[in-house]
C-alpha cells in the first residue's frame, strides 16, 4: 500500500474510516414483478470487518450487491432507502460520479472467474487498466510494477509469468485471484464479493477465502461477502445477514461460540447445511421388504457386491496430429459397491469422477479393466442383455435442465422409459406415472408442466422419478444436488435416502462435496487425478483419514469444527 499515501481525495467527501458501507431501508423493484425484489434491507460494513450476506436463490442477495455497487439492471429501480459510501449518500449519484469511486473506494470480485475476465487481453493489462483508470499520470514501468505487486498481493506467486498470460492459460483459482488483483488495483477500502468461490473446488475455495481473510486483516478492508453457503459464512464472517424473499430476516453476530439464531428460517438453513451435519441421514417412512443390506450380505456373501469395478482405465486424446497427447481420465481405478448401500466417489474437478460414472452405466467403455454388474462383464453384453442392463442401471445427471428434454411435459418424461421398454401402456402407464410423481413428493398438477416451468429442486426430483420408473437395481447419481440450494439439497438427499430404503436401491453417488457424502454414503472412494487414493467406510475416512489428500479435503469443508454440536442444538 505504498501508493496509499499518494492517493487523491475521494469525491463527495467519502471517508475511508468509519462506516464504509451503510444501506438503510433499501427497497428495489423490478419493472414487471408485482413484489419488490428487495424490501427494507439495512446493513453496514465497517473497516476490518467481514459481513456475510446469506440466502438461497431468489432471496435478493445479488440485487442488494448490484444496488450497493450502483449497477442495477435498467429495469430495476431503487424505490426507497439510502446507500451511503463512507458517510456520503450515493443513492442518486450518476454513473460518471460513481465510476470515480469504483476502484479507489469500492472493489468488486465477481462470481464466475471463467467468464469475468476479458479473454483476449493479458492478465497484466487487465490489472493495469484498473490502476490507470484512476491515476493517468503514471508511467508504463510504474504501472507494470504496481500491477505485479497487486498480483502478488492477490496470492499469485509467479506474478511475472501470470502478467503475460491470457485468462485461458490459468486455472479457475488463479483466475479468481487475478480478479481479486483487479478489484484491489486502486486500493479500495471496501471489497464486495458475490459468491467468489462457488465455481471453485473446495480446496481452492479454502485457499481463496483464507487469502481474502488475510487481506482484510492486513489492509483493514471492509468485506461484504455474499454466499449461499452457510458453512462459509459462519466460518468467515464476523456478522451475518440472513435474507429470505428480499427481506433481512435476521442479523447475527458470529463469535467463538455457536450463534443463537432466533428466526425459524435461519434455524432451518443451519439445520440443512451439509457442512454442519455429520451423521448419515436416516430414512423416514416405510422401509422396503428387503431389509438391511448387512443381513442380505450375511445370507449370501458372494452376491454382496452388485457392481465391481476392477483396474479400470480410460484415456482421452487431446489435440490432433503430432501434438496429440494421451490424457488418463481414469487410471487403474478399482472399487466395489455392495447391494443396498451407497458408495460415493469424491474428488475435485479433473479427478475422473464423472468418467467413472459414465463407465459404470455403459455410456463409455473402458480402455482396460473390467466392470461387472451382477457378476456379468458389462463391456461384452449381447444386444438383448445390454437392453436389460440399461433397464436395471439408471443414471441421474448433475443438471436436470439439460438432461430432461425441454419439449417434453413431466408426464411424458416419466412415461418414456416405460414405453421404451414396453413395460406398461394405457391406464397402467398413467397410473405408474402418477405413482412416480408422488414418490418424489410432487403433486399431480406437475404432470403437465415442462422442465422450464420447474425450479431446480423440482426438476431434479423429476429426473430421479424418471430413473426409478423401471425399478432399477443400481442408480448412478452424478453430482445430483450440487446445483441446488442448501435447503432443497437437504430435501433431495432425504428423498434419495427414503427411496433407497423403500425400494432396496443401490446408489453410486458422485460428488465433489465431502459434506454431502457424509450425509448419504456408507462407503467412499476418494479420487485424485484418475486414481483412487483412499477408500473405506465413510465413518472411518472421516475419523481416521490416512492419505494426506483426504485430510486436505476434509480440512477444506467450510464451517466451524464444532459443527456437529451446533447441529445437535438446533434440532
Amino acid at each position: 500500500m505504498s501508493v496509499a499515501t499518494a492517493r487523491t481525495a475521494l469525491p463527495g467527501g467519502i471517508r475511508r474510516d468509519g462506516t464504509l458501507l451503510q444501506i438503510s431501508g433499501l427497497q428495489v423493484r423490478y419493472e414487471i414483478e408485482p413484489v419488490a425484489a428487495v424490501q427494507e434491507v439495512s446493513l453496514t460494513v465497517r473497516p476490518g470487518e467481514l459481513v456475510g450476506v446469506v440466502g438461497e436463490s431468489g432471496s435478493g442477495k445479488t440485487t442488494v450487491v448490484r444496488a450497493a455497487l450502483g449497477v442495477l439492471p435498467f429495469n430495476a429501480t431503487v424505490v426507497s432507502g439510502q446507500i451511503a459510501y463512507g458517510g456520503a449518500d450515493v443513492t442518486h449519484w450518476r454513473d460518471r460520479q460513481l465510476a470515480r469511486v469504483r476502484g479507489p473506494f469500492v472493489g468488486y470480485v465477481p462470481q464466475d472467474p471463467a467468464t469475468s475476465l476479458n479473454p483476449v487481453k493479458k492478465i497484466g493489462r487487465q490489472v493495469a487498466e484498473g490502476i490507470l483508470l484512476h491515476d493517468r499520470r503514471l508511467k508504463a514501468p510504474e504501472v507494470r510494477e504496481l500491477a505485479l505487486g497487486k498480483l502478488v498481493t492477490a496470492g499469485l506467486t509467479e506474478a511475472e509469468r501470470v502478467y503475460d498470460q491470457y485468462p485461458h492459460e490459468l486455472s479457475g483459482g488463479m483466475k479468481q485471484r487475478a480478479l481479486i488483483a483487479i478489484a484491489l488495483a486502486s486500493d479500495p477500502a471496501l471489497l464486495i464479493a458475490d459468491e467468489p468461490t462457488s465455481a471453485l473446488d473446495v480446496t481452492v475455495q479454502k485457499a481463496i477465502l483464507d487469502h481474502l481473510d488475510q487481506l482484510r486483516a492486513r489492509f483493514n478492508l471492509g468485506v461484504l461477502l455474499v454466499t449461499h453457503d452457510l458453512g462459509i459464512a459462519t466460518e468467515r464472517a464476523s456478522r451475518l445477514v440472513v435474507m429470505q424473499r428480499g427481506r433481512v430476516v435476521e442479523e447475527l453476530l458470529v463469535g467463538k461460540e455457536a450463534p443463537a439464531p432466533q428466526h425459524p428460517y435461519t434455524r432451518r438453513l443451519i439445520a440443512a447445511a451439509p457442512s454442519v451435519r455429520s451423521a448419515r441421514l436416516q430414512p423416514a417412512g416405510p422401509t422396503g421388504p428387503t431389509g438391511p443390506a448387512e443381513a442380505r450380505a450375511a445370507r449370501d456373501p458372494e452376491a454382496a457386491d452388485i457392481l465391481v469395478v476392477d483396474q479400470v482405465s480410460k484415456h482421452y486424446r487431446i489435440g490432433h496430429g503430432r501434438g496429440a497427447a494421451n490424457f488418463a481420465a481414469v487410471a487403474s481405478a478399482s472399487f466395489a459397491v455392495a447391494r443396498g448401500t451407497t458408495h460415493a466417489i469424491v474428488g475435485e474437478s479433473g479427478a475422473g469422477k464423472t468418467t467413472i460414472a459414465r463407465l459404470a452405466v455403459g455410456l463409455q467403455t473402458p480402455d482396460s479393466g473390467t466392470i461387472r454388474f451382477e457378476g456379468a462383464d458389462t463391456t461384452s453384453l449381447s444386444a438383448a442383455a445390454r437392453r436389460e442392463f440399461r433397464r436395471r442401471v439408471q443414471f441421474v445427471y448433475q443438471n436436470p435442465f439439460s438432461s430432461l428434454d425441454p419439449s417434453f411435459s413431466v408426464g411424458r418424461l416419466l412415461a418414456e422409459p416405460l414405453q421404451v421398454h414396453q413395460v406398461l401402456s394405457g391406464d397402467g402407464l398413467r397410473q405408474r406415472v402418477r405413482e412416480l410423481v408422488t414418490a418424489v413428493r410432487l403433486d399431480h398438477s406437475y404432470l403437465s408442466r415442462r422442465p422450464a416451468e420447474l425450479s431446480g429442486g423440482q426438476a431434479q426430483r423429476v429426473a430421479i422419478a424418471r430413473a426409478l420408473a423401471l425399478n432399477p437395481q443400481l442408480v448412478v447419481l452424478d453430482e445430483p444436488v450440487s446445483s441446488l440450494d442448501v435447503s432443497v439439497q437437504g430435501q433431495v438427499l432425504q428423498l434419495l435416502v427414503d427411496l433407497q430404503a423403500r425400494h432396496g436401491l443401490t446408489y453410486l453417488f458422485i460428488s465433489h462435496d465431502l459434506g454431502v457424502v457424509r450425509l448419504i454414503a456408507d462407503t467412499v472412494s476418494v479420487m485424485r487425478r484418475g486414481q483412487v487414493v483412499e477408500d473405506g467406510p465413510v465413518s472411518r475416512i472421516f475419523a481416521d483419514p490416512r492419505d494426506p489428500y483426504t485430510r486436505t479435503l476434509i480440512g477444506a469443508i467450510p464451517g466451524p469444527s464444532g459443527g456437529s454440536q451446533w447441529h445437535a442444538s438446533y434440532t
Binding site: 424473499r245 441421514l281 423416514a284 443414471f395 445427471y397 438432461s403 425441454p406 425450479s455 435447503s487
Partner: protein
C-alpha cells in the same frame, strides 16, 4: 433422529413452488408482439395477401381475365384502385387473383425445401462422419451454383408451369434448409437429454423423431419464414421471365413483365405489382426476424 423431509405441504415445499419459474402466458406474448407496430403491420400484410389467395372474389368484383377495351390504360382511381391495363382489365383484380398463383407456388416451394432439406439435414447431422461429409459436400455444390441459374435449369428440364416453378425454387432452397437443420441437429445430438434417451435403451429412430426433431426444428421454421420472402421473389422472377403461368393468367411476376412495355407512358402497370411483391417480401422478412428473436 431428525428428519429433513416434511410432507408435501411443508413450508419448504411451499417455498419451492413460489420460486418455480414463471411461464409466459399466450396473452402476455401477444401483448409483447403488439409493442412492435412494424411486426403487426407485417402480419396484417401477409394475412391480407393470403386472404386474397384463398378467396379473391371477396376482395374484387371485376373479372381478372376479361376487360373492357374502352377503359384501357386508366390511371389508378377509386373505381380501379390499381388502374387498368392495355386490354382494360382491372389491375387490382389481376393482382388479387394473381396472388393465388404466386402464393401457391411459393408455399409449395417452401414446403419442398423445408421437408426435403430438413430431412437431409436431420439424417446427415445424426449420421456418422463419412455419410455426413458426403452429403454435405453435395449440398455445398448445390449452394455454389447461382440460385436463379439453378432454378431456370430445373424449370427448363421439367417444363414451364406454376408447379414446376414451385418445384424449381424449392429444390434451390433445399441446400440452406439442410445446412441450418444439420447445425441444429449437431447441437441437439450432443445434449444430455439425447444421451439420456439413448442410455435408457431407446433405439435411434425413436430418439431422432421424439427428441432430436422437435428440438431442432424451431430455427428451421424461422428460416422457412425467411425463405417465404425469398421464394415469392424467385417465383415472381421466373414468372417475369415467362417460365411460370402462361398469359392471360394473372401472376405477379408476369404482371410486371407485361407492364414493362408501358413503363414510360403508364408506369403504374409495372410499378404497382412490383411494389406489391416488394412489400410482401419485406413483411415476411420482418416476421422471420421476429420469430428468430424469440428463440432463446
Amino acid at each position: 433422529m431428525t428428519a429433513l423431509t416434511e410432507p408435501i405441504d411443508s413450508p419448504e415445499a411451499a417455498d419451492e413452488v413460489a420460486v418455480a419459474r414463471p411461464v409466459a402466458s399466450p396473452l402476455r406474448r401477444a401483448l409483447t408482439a403488439v409493442r412492435s407496430p412494424t411486426l403487426v403491420i407485417a402480419w396484417l400484410i401477409v394475412l391480407t395477401v393470403i386472404a386474397w389467395a384463398v378467396a379473391p372474389q371477396l376482395f374484387t368484383h371485376s373479372n381478372p381475365l376479361v376487360g373492357n377495351p374502352e377503359q384501357a390504360f386508366e390511371a389508378p382511381s377509386w373505381h380501379h384502385l390499381f388502374g387498368t391495363d392495355q386490354l382494360g382489365r382491372d389491375m387490382f383484380s389481376r393482382v388479387v387473383y394473381g396472388s393465388r398463383n404466386t402464393l401457391t407456388a411459393t408455399l409449395y416451394a417452401v414446403l419442398v425445401g423445408f421437408v426435403a432439406g430438413g430431412t437431409i439435414g436431420l439424417l446427415s447431422g445424426y449420421a456418422d462422419g463419412t455419410t455426413d461429409a458426403v452429403v454435405m459436400r453435395f449440398i455445398d455444390v448445390l449452394l455454389s451454383v447461382p440460385t436463379l441459374l439453378l432454378a431456370m435449369t430445373v424449370v427448363a428440364a421439367l417444363g414451364y408451369g406454376v408447379l414446376n416453378v414451385a418445384l424449381a425454387v424449392g429444390i434451390v432452397s433445399i441446400a440452406s434448409f439442410a445446412r441450418v437443420m444439420r447445425s441444429q441437429v449437431l447441437k441437439v445430438v450432443q445434449s444430455e437429454y439425447v444421451e439420456a434417451a439413448r442410455g435408457l435403451g431407446s433405439r435411434w429412430p425413436r430418439v431422432l423423431v421424439l427428441h432430436v426433431l422437435p428440438n431442432s426444428v424451431r430455427s428451421v421454421l424461422s428460416l422457412a419464414a425467411l425463405e417465404f420472402g425469398t421464394a415469392v421473389l424467385a417465383v415472381a422472377t421466373l414468372g417475369f421471365l415467362g417460365y411460370g403461368a402462361p398469359p392471360p393468367q394473372p401472376e405477379w411476376g408476369l404482371a410486371v413483365s407485361e407492364g414493362r412495355a408501358f413503363l414510360d407512358t403508364y408506369p403504374w402497370l409495372a410499378l404497382i405489382p412490383g411494389a406489391v411483391i416488394a412489400v410482401v417480401v419485406l413483411a415476411s422478412n420482418r416476421i422471420s426476424t421476429a420469430s428468430r428473436g424469440r428463440r432463446r
